[in-house]
C-alpha cells in the first residue's frame, strides 16, 4: 500500500480553470504538507497542517486553498489556473515536526500542466 497517495498523477488543463489535487496518507501521521517543485527542480513548501490546523502558509497566491477534512487527508484546490502554476505538486506527511528525528514521507507527485 502506498503510504502517501496523490490523485491525479497527471493533469493537463487550460488557463482559467479550477482544479483540485487530493492527498491521503495511511501512516497515522498528524502533519501533512504541500510542496511545489518548479521547472528548476526547486522544492518549496506551500502549506502545512497539523491535526487539521493550518500551521504554515507560505507566500502563495490566494488562488491556492488547502483543505484538510481530517488528519489523513489534505487536498489542494487551485482557482483560475495560470501558466506559471505548471509544476509538480508533492504531498507529504510526518509525525510531529521535522528536525525532531522524524522522517517526512512524500507522495509521488502530481504533474500539473496548464496550457
Amino acid at each position: 500500500d502506498t503510504a502517501v497517495s496523490q490523485t491525479p498523477k497527471y493533469l493537463v488543463t487550460q488557463m482559467g480553470n479550477d482544479k483540485s489535487i487530493k492527498c491521503e496518507q495511511n501512516l497515522g501521521h498528524d502533519t501533512m504538507y504541500w510542496y511545489k517543485q518548479d521547472s528548476k527542480k526547486f522544492l518549496k513548501i506551500m502549506f502545512s497542517y497539523n491535526n487539521k490546523e493550518l500551521i504554515i502558509n507560505e507566500t502563495v497566491p490566494n488562488r491556492f486553498s488547502p483543505k484538510s477534512p481530517d488528519k489523513a487527508h489534505l487536498n489542494l484546490h487551485i482557482n483560475s489556473l495560470e501558466l506559471g502554476d505548471s509544476a509538480v505538486y508533492f504531498c507529504a506527511s510526518s509525525q510531529g515536526f521535522q528536525g525532531g528525528g522524524n522522517t517526512i514521507y512524500f507522495g509521488e507527485g502530481s504533474w500539473l500542466t496548464v496550457v
Partner: protein, 113 residues
Amino acid sequence: EDKVVQSPLSLVVHEGDTVTLNCSYEVTNFRSLLWYKQEKKAPTFLFMLTSSGIEKKSGRLSSILDKKELFSILNITATQTGDSAIYLCAVPPGGTSYGKLTFGQGTILTVHP
C-alpha cells in the same frame, strides 16, 4: 531566512566513478540536515545528520556533516546507472515550526554506462 545551496547543479559521470555532492546551509538553531534522492517520482529519504564528523553510511552512499563550516557532503562510490537522480539536501527549521523543510536546488546526477 534559512538557506541551502547545493553544488554542483549537475554532474555527468561514468559507471564506476566516485562522486561527491556538496550542500552548504545557513539556518537558525540548526537541528539536522537531510539528504533525499529523487528519481522520477517522490523524493526518498537517504540520511539524516545531526552531529559533526560522524559518517552515515548505506551501501555505496555515505554522508558527513561539518557543523563548524556549515556543510555536508554526500559521497557515492562505484556509481551505477541506477544512481542517476536528483539529490536534494534539506534542513528543517529550528524551534517548533512544523515541517518547513528548506531544500537546496538539487544536484542532477547522470551516470552513463
